[in-house]
Structure formats: structure tokens, C-alpha cells
Subunit: 173 residues, 2 copies
Amino acid sequence: MATIRLMGIDPGSRITGYGIINIEGLYKIHVASGCIRTTNSSLFPERLKTIFEKLTVIIRIHKPTEVAVERVFVHHRNPDSALKLGQARGAALCAVVMAGLPISEYAPRAVKQAVVGDGAADKTQVNHMIQLLLHLSEAPPTDAADALAVAICHGHTRQTRQRLMEAITLVGR
Amino acid sequence: MATIRLMGIDPGSRITGYGIINIEGLYKIHVASGCIRTTNSSLFPERLKTIFEKLTVIIRIHKPTEVAVERVFVHHRNPDSALKLGQARGAALCAVVMAGLPISEYAPRAVKQAVVGDGAADKTQVNHMIQLLLHLSEAPPTDAADALAVAICHGHTRQTRQRLMEAITLVGR
């Protein structure tokens, strides 16, 4: 059975989480995850450079073939923090598209539904399920867990899509 | 007298303006300006790729040594448009920092003050003065004019700073 390597990213202006998993049939295997901290510089453009450069290196090392991010809902945010988040997100998405990888976006509810089975689950539940699903010896940092969660969500979605396509092909015979 | 080549950028999620000028003593000479249109794709990551790639090429061709952008004030914007603008801005700033160039930010009032002599000037006045100052045969598109305006503002500021430094050195002798 072919192994698919997926990457999830949770961009932020201070911390950007990333998580890489292998999908092997029904199994999900943790490959790598962590946080890119951008508090190295008070200069905002330098922070964007850190996000872009580090993600480019991580993609080059682990070679995922597809990337997923959470869709952002900004209704309740103030415009200034939305601008800052947007800039970090722009740098992260740039690193992905410049590496030639496709990006899928998922609503936060869909991610929670895929990981916990409940679209209204809280962060602790998501984190706990990530640890269980990926057989991690300890709970990952929140931003890394969020990135792994969106990668798992993408894995579910593409498997469901694949099975549907197979079913359609069988019916069409 | 040494020639300094400056670039101004006016990032936007649909149109990103750019303008490149030479500063030769008191003279400002138009080198290139234009708009990067990102309506080529309905996919947002593709738009970010267009901004990043085109700015990278423009920087490689014209070799500016410093870059200036307008500071964004988002108080009156809705968070969703602030997020979109932020993403476009993130892609543009990434192209600049990855080219190893320093970025200066200027408040919109400072830009208008530098170009028109009035911090409350409107877009038409800015556009008209850009045409006059750079001896352009016709008015540039709005986004290109805004980019040229912030480049001119940066040119003024660095000249003033340089003269102050010279004066301090003379006094110090």
C-alpha cells in the first residue's frame, strides 16, 4: 500500500506550528512536528523571513506531497491582529506554493470533527486525541498539535474522496 | 555623486503596485513602475505565489538596494479584509527579505507630506505630484503611484538623515 506524506501548518505571528504524518492505509504515523518561534526579532519582516525559511527547510527535509491549513475566521478578532496573522499566514503559504505543493483548507469545526469526532471539541480534547491517534509518548505543544490535527483531517478527507472515487468507478463498470 | 536605487511597494490582495527610482543628489529619476495583478487565479495561495514570484523577478532585474512600504492602519477595516491584505503583504515582504534587502515603513501621512507637502493630501494630488516630480508623460496607475510615493518618501528621509549625520560629524571635529 502506498504511503502518503501530509503536512499540516498552523501559522501565527509569534509561533507557527507544523506537523508531518504518513498515511499508510488506515494507519497514521507521526513523522515530525514542532514549533517555529519568531520572537527572535522585534522586526516584523525578519519574523516573516524566519517562517518562510524554516518551513522551506522542513519541506525540503521531510518531502510532504500535500499541505493542509486551518481556514481562519476573523469575525471576532480586531483588525490589527488579523493583519499580523495574515502576514504570517502569507509567509507560510508562500513557502508551500514556492515548493510546488497543493494546499487544502479546512474549517476549525471540520478539523475537530475529524480528530475528536465532535466539531465543538476544545483544545485539550484535540491535543489528547492527537497523542492517542499518533501514539506519542507525551502531549505535543499546542501549535504543533493543531498542525498535526489539520494534517489528520486532510488525511481523512482525501481517503473518503478516494473511496468514493473507487465506488463510482466500480458502479460505472 | 553616488546613485541610490530605491523601491517602493504597495501590496494588495488584488493589485500590488511597485515603483523604482534612482536618487542622484537632488534629482529623482523614474526607473520602472507598474502593477502586479493577482486576479489570474481564484485560488488565494496562487495569488500569493504571483506576488512573491513577480516581485522577486523585478528585484532581480532592477537591483534596488533599499525597499519602502506604507505602514497599514487597519482600525476602520473589517477583520476579513485585514487578513487578506495581511497575506498579500506577507508574500510581498517575504520576497524583499529573501532578496536580502532592508525594509523601511512609513505612515501614510509621512508619505503624503514628502510628496505633496501636505499630510492630508488626497490620492489625486499625490498622483499629480508623482507625475511632476518624476517627469512622467502621463499619470501612473494609482497603485504604481502609491509605490513611487513611498519610494520618494524614503529617499527624502534617508537624505535628511545623511545630512544630519554629516552635520554631526562636522560639529564633532
